[in-house]
Amino acid sequence: MNKKGLFFWIELLLLIVVLALVILNFPRSGDSFLANKDSLDLQNLGFTTLQSLDNAGILENFTNINNFAQSNFTKLSVYIKSPLPSTVLANIEYFNGTDCRSESGSVIAICGNITRTKDTATAEYTYAKLANPITIKLYLRRILG
């Protein structure tokens, strides 16, 4: 049996290290579905909540069909936020095709110009009780997210 030199063992050790690194860094199966599930669920909950309020006649009740600017935005925002879990922060915007309005009903330059973290989910729901359909944009984020 021939005696192996120092470099042989160093090369063997390096080979094992390289092999270990390769095996341990194989691409992992994508888990983007699970990583984004919370956000998707929040978006779905926001959308279906707005849909339920519309089906129950609440959105129509506080919307002025002749002049959207005269709608009761305070009541709209309370009714939209009340069904959401207490652990969810919500921002609301309204868009009628021309104007974008904040939660309080004041006109703002553009919709979506709010601080949004990467876990913010956006639910958009359009209801067409007017000549111009109204889109409610609901920005949702979990407090403990």
């Binding site: 579905f33 669920d41 279906t48 089906n55 129950a56 309370v78 009714y79 009340s82």
Partner: protein, 277 residues
């Protein structure tokens, strides 16, 4: 020189075996994690599939118990997520086995709902209210909401109601010194109740609504009791579920959607919790 070779051999073999062991343990740990993620993803897809049954009326669209259906669905015709209460009750009457045979859900699912808001129309008065061994909200005479906790064992009921843009006064009917009943105002009235009941006890509070809200929200409901105490509006259950419960250690995935429970005369706003595993 021969001894030195054996030492080298033992050292090299040890390093080799330790390295292989390390790689195997780490890789198998990752593999277990991957398997769990795959199982959870499959459970999530199952939970999301359940939403279809809340969005479709089924076939025929007006199926009833016991005539049955060829495609399972719980909503009204062209009204996704507006669940017909008679279909929900029909589904429960069929029993789990028949649903499985006649439709597509696999066996490992559970659907439940919690009512989070209800209408308070002066025209609506609950003619019959189930109050025995239950927590009951009973609308009365167009401007009163009677809240009753009845149990045969030591129980504590915590309930928080929110009446948007409405004012209300609390009237103690048979509440006791250990009960808590508060009403605070902010964009409406919040009512916080804590009713402590014991054996053969009934505590009742009445809420006089001075202005009628469009909806009354149930913001919190919790019962600590040795017995099962259902939660009713009149005689309609505000919490219900269907399907088997998940076994221990099941890889459960759940999702929530909001919808309506249609009772013919009115709609209740509900959150559905869909579980798959």
């Amino acid at each position: 020189m021969k001894g030195q070779t054996w030492v080298e051999f033992i050292v090299a073999t040890s390093i080799f075996l330790l390295s292989i062991g390390f790689i195997f343990i780490t890789a198998s740990g990752n593999l277990k994690e991957e398997i769990q993620k795959s199982q959870q993803q499959a459970s999530c897809l199952k939970a999301y599939e359940l939403e279809n049954f809340l969005r479709q009326p089924g076939a025929p669209a007006d199926w009833t118990f016991p005539s049955g259906f060829s495609i399972f669905g719980l909503s009204g015709n062209n009204t996704p997520l507006v669940i017909q209460n008679d279909k929900w009750q029909g589904m429960k009457s069929f029993g789990f086995a028949n649903i499985s045979q006649n439709s597509t859900p696999s066996q490992s699912w559970h659907v439940s709902y919690d009512v989070y808001a209800f209408e308070f129309d002066p025209a609506i008065s609950d003619s019959s209210c189930t109050t025995e061994n239950a927590i009951t909200l009973c609308r009365n005479s167009g401007s009163y909401l009677n809240i009753t906790a009845n149990s045969t064992s030591q129980s504590q009921t915590k309930l928080k109601l929110f009446l948007p843009f409405s004012s209300a006064t609390l009237i103690g009917l048979t509440n006791e010194s250990d009960d808590v009943a508060n009403a605070t105002s902010a964009n409406g009235t919040s009512v916080i109740l804590q009713l402590n009941t014991n054996s053969t006890d009934e505590d009742s509070v009445s809420l006089h609504l001075l202005a009628t809200p469009n909806l009354i929200f149930i913001e919190q409901f919790n019962v600590e009791s040795g017995q099962y105490l259902p939660f009713y509006l009149g005689n309609i259950s505000l919490q219900d579920s269907f399907g088997p419960f998940a076994p221990p250690n099941a890889m459960i995935c759940d999702t929530k959607v909001s919808g309506l429970l249609n009772l013919t005369t009115e709609n209740l706003l509900v959150n559905f919790n869909l579980e798959g595993w």
